[in-house]
Symmetry: C2
Subunit: 318 residues, 2 copies
Amino acid sequence: MPDGAALIGIDWGTTSFRAYRIAADGVLETRTAPAGILKVADGDFEAVLEREVGAWLGAAPALPVVVSGMITSRQGWLEVPYCACPAGSVELAHALGALTTRGGRRLHFVPGVSLLGGDGVPDVIRGEETQIIGQLAGGRGAAVLVLPGTHSKWALVAEGRIVWFATFMTGELFAVLREHSILGRLMAGAAPDAAAFARGLAYAREGPGGLLKRLFSVRTLGLFDQLPASALASYLSGLLIGSELVEALACLPQPPDAQEITVIGDSALAERYRGAIEAAGFQARTGDGDAGARGLLLIARAAGLVPGAEPQALRSGP
Amino acid sequence: MPDGAALIGIDWGTTSFRAYRIAADGVLETRTAPAGILKVADGDFEAVLEREVGAWLGAAPALPVVVSGMITSRQGWLEVPYCACPAGSVELAHALGALTTRGGRRLHFVPGVSLLGGDGVPDVIRGEETQIIGQLAGGRGAAVLVLPGTHSKWALVAEGRIVWFATFMTGELFAVLREHSILGRLMAGAAPDAAAFARGLAYAREGPGGLLKRLFSVRTLGLFDQLPASALASYLSGLLIGSELVEALACLPQPPDAQEITVIGDSALAERYRGAIEAAGFQARTGDGDAGARGLLLIARAAGLVPGAEPQALRSGP
């Protein structure tokens, strides 16, 4: 390619589609669409791929294509079995799935990662592993990363590999409680209320009992006019994110290195997580918005699909 | 009344209406209807009262009528301010509200009970206080009681008064997760699965992290074929009820007397709670289905509305 493109990388999740044209030293072009796998009619993923990035594919017929996210799940285009922890770019590269489209293009699919807890209960990620690998960008030290979302993920990485992770249903719980519970019916408006958020955070750390009991405080603080209806959504958000923080810190196999936790993402939600982490006495480091693209490049290199310089040489590395 | 009726008592909740004709020594007649306050059109509660128990009222114009439950809340017929803990039949009787209907009948309304925690966060019950008072039936010892439901209540009673209680949003969380979350979409069927319920109970006690993390096991145990789709609802129920048990035991001001916990109610849900309590190493005592009626009688007596023998003389006392 004249502009040095080395890879087309796609992060294809449940609700969104994000494609990158990637050069050895950074992202050249990004294309996003609300075309998550749940929105693809009749499972015709190839039609969506053509519609969204057909021009890129046509202009560079030899460029490798690597996809990650829920597109590699049972509900996606090609189910790729989970790769067990510890997993870094090399392990993920070895476990890539692949198919050839009707149009004759070879596509490579990144597996999710699984972890079997000591209690026999498995946990899984699919898509986040690529962002985590990209965030590390070949770094060797231990780090704790958080990926806020519907199902929030915490990961511990060491020596460039994911050695532990856990899923917290924080975002989904917030959504179902706001939309379908008595707590939601008490709420008015959605404007952020920083003081109410902080109060929820604090009660998550300090209140008696656990989450089932503390949730009822959303109702009673409203009932006793301690919080206005307009503040209740922020309070619930603080209560849930604060609870996630308490849980995650309690089950992390080792405490965060240098008291620093990296939050991947630049959304308003990620910003709230940073506030929660700092309120708990840790330093919150901001992750890289292009971590997903860099992860795809690192995995493609490890698979030999892209000739590789050292990953650390990437332009947007930390 | 020829048959010795001393009181018409009504437990009027959010979704159901239950009326009793009560004699000094027990319940003579019960009438239930799906006529909770949310189902009363235009707030015309008097029309519902006439429809459901007009015959009782007409046959005994002088009989006192006492009502408890959400009918005494802001959304009900007459809002009665909360009575603060500790609260027994005497305190509740002193705080009764009253109104006279268009038809000229005097009705007495039992207040709910509030408790301000040391952390400044209030908790409330409305309706359950009457069941608890009835369950005590004048007993003097300390006891721990559980009232399973949408918002499950635990109470500590001593010297015939409610001295502490807490609300857990267990039932509502189960409902919104089953009906509106990804966990519910994985479930098939609703037949109880005792082994899956027990597994959920155990994981609530033993699994790492807290509820936000453990909830995700509903998904992964299904995904990894460790539990069939038909078992997931029971597993979630066990996980939530088990979590409630852990939380409640942790925040009870004193441990259950003689390791015994009383579950009020005779529903299938109450049966599951008894199983959970026994699995945690406590004795589960079955509460009285008529506790609500007896509570209404005790409060009416304490208010002087009904001439009173000792409450212990009640036929269906424990």
